[in-house]
Symmetry: C2
Subunit: 198 residues, 2 copies
DNA sequence: CTGGAATTAGAGAGCAATCTCTAATACTTG
DNA sequence: CAAGTATTAGAGATTGCTCTCTAATTCCAG
């Protein structure tokens, strides 16, 4: 069966994550990844056909890891609990996974991955489908409406505003203050609350 | 006095802005900037000592242009009007200056400018001072307090959350919905409103 | 122990980007 | 109109990165 792998896929993705989160997208060069693993750059290309493929796989892995908890939160039976859990998940996940959060929050896919590898085409297209569906489902379940505004406000409250707080957490050198989750949750309810009057 | 300039500083910054907003940070290469102006790349270096200096000057110019209106808004005499004006300014400025907003909102200085040029050192350190002071002043004027939480909530309401909406505007292909400014303003008051009860 | 297959090792080709250097050019002042 | 100077023009040195190619190594199966 041949020689056992010394640097497996996950280790390479982890190294790329470290470098991208520390030095930005340009920091995760193939040479730098190899150096961090103590390998020559040629060995990396044995497992990944291109640098873009490494970063694309990292991107997918990171998004999936975040979405797992987010989807569970949004899909809670009680809408009130769903809002609280969704906001809390985004902020606590940011604190607990600082490197992955940094890559996800600070960079866009287009700037991280120059050319999306063909072999992953479908994964990219469907990556956000579940989240989109969960937002629409939330709007329908709680408000009985799927108008553009209803869905848009839900997205603002559960995704965009928590995202802003995450970004602040990442940029700050100090740990997030205890009132932050409350504040973002309050903002979420405020944005959603107006929907009932319209 | 010699030959009249054919490509002046502002034209070079404008070209860099176009390229950075269209293709991301890596798109604004010196060669690309020169090509857009119809000049050889050597001519660019006659006006700017380095690529980093071009992007640094662009960064400063863009921040200043945004801050102008933002500071005027936050400093309005009536705090209620100040909140509304600050939120509205961020969102309308994003719509009215899509290229500059894109550079400001999507990229961090560290990822745009590899090494901040020494000759601009002071400008970088003091760039955000006025905004920081205006946020602190707002918290003091309205709430009579400069505790970390008070200032933090003000920053969340007037900067971070409007920022998130800006980012959404930029990413969407369609113009922002009419309810967006209201929603972000509502969120701002919700975040600030809690302060009175604590 | 031995043959074979997967993996590592390492050098280097090719390319793109920054920055430099010198010569040519056009404008402005006296 | 002449002289001086700021600017443009363009070629090329250098660097760093992606990706390729071949030889060496290690492990497993029989």
């Amino acid at each position: 069966m041949g020689r056992a792998p010394k640097y497996d896929d996950e280790a390479i993705l982890d190294a790329a994550l470290d470098l991208a989160s520390e030095h930005g997208p340009h920091g995760a060069t193939v040479v730098a990844i190899a150096e961090r693993l103590g390998a020559p750059s040629g060995s990396i290309y044995h497992r990944f056909a291109s640098r873009d493929l490494i970063l694309a796989r990292l991107w997918i892995r990171t998004i999936r890891r975040f979405q797992e908890g987010f989807l569970a939160a949004v899909r809670l039976d009680d809408p009130d609990q769903a809002v609280r859990a969704a906001v809390a998940h985004t902020l606590t996940w940011t604190v607990e996974h600082p490197r992955e959060a940094k890559v996800l929050v600070l960079y866009r896919r287009e700037d991280l991955i120059a050319l999306w590898p063909d072999e992953l085409g479908d994964d990219l297209a469907t990556l956000n489908d579940e989240v989109k569906r969960s937002i629409t489902a939330f709007a329908r379940t709680w408000f009985g409406a799927v108008a553009a505004e209803t869905v848009g406000r839900t997205r603002l409250a559960l995704i965009d505003q928590p995202y802003a707080a995450s970004r602040r957490i990442i940029s700050d050198t100090v740990p997030p203050p205890p009132w932050l989750i409350d504040a973002v949750t309050t903002a979420a309810f405020a944005v959603l609350g107006e929907m009932r009057q319209s």
